[in-house]
């Protein structure tokens, strides 16, 4: 009886852990993507430090990319809605 209770507690612990690791992996993947895009936008030739103009460019880049993504999602949802009402 208690053997099975222990099993499911273990499984639950692993499940929660996997969920958190999966979220972490998604965040890392997102950071990889930002790095890719914002390096191209903001870094010309690498120098001996990041000057403040470059830092501003990089943080703006991340925020604007997120804003863009949110706006596109909104707009796309609207477009899909319009499409489906026309098909009716």
């Amino acid at each position: 009886m208690s053997e099975f209770e222990d099993l499911s507690a273990n499984d639950k612990e692993l499940q929660e852990f996997l969920m958190i690791e999966k979220q972490k992996a998604q965040v890392h993947a997102q950071i990889h993507e930002f790095n890719e895009i914002c390096w191209e936008k903001c870094i010309g030739k690498p120098s001996n430090k990041l000057d403040s103009a470059t830092e501003t460019c990089l943080s703006n880049c991340v925020d604007r990319f997120i804003d863009t993504s949110l706006l596109i999602t909104q707009r796309f949802a609207q477009a899909l809605q319009k499409q489906s009402s026309v098909d009716m």
């Binding site: 852990f17 790095n35 690498p46 943080s59 925020d63």
Partner: protein, 91 residues
Amino acid sequence: MADVSNEEIMSQMKQQMALANAQGQLSKMTGKCFKACIAQPGTSLNASEQRCISQCVDRFMDVWDLVARTYGNRLQREEELEKPYEKTGMF
């Protein structure tokens, strides 16, 4: 019963994920820095190219930290606003 404890499984998985992340960074860094520093590939890396590459590695890590921080701050702000943000997969 199970010979391997949860702790071992979790620790191994964490290591593997950290390794995968580092490998990804390495791969990207190499691409970016080659592009930025090696204009005309010669028969060896000259001193200026080597210096550029070293700086580039450092800058890449700086950029990574800044981007990660900016993203983290944005995530926090979105949560605080409790915005009904659409599922872009980013949050």
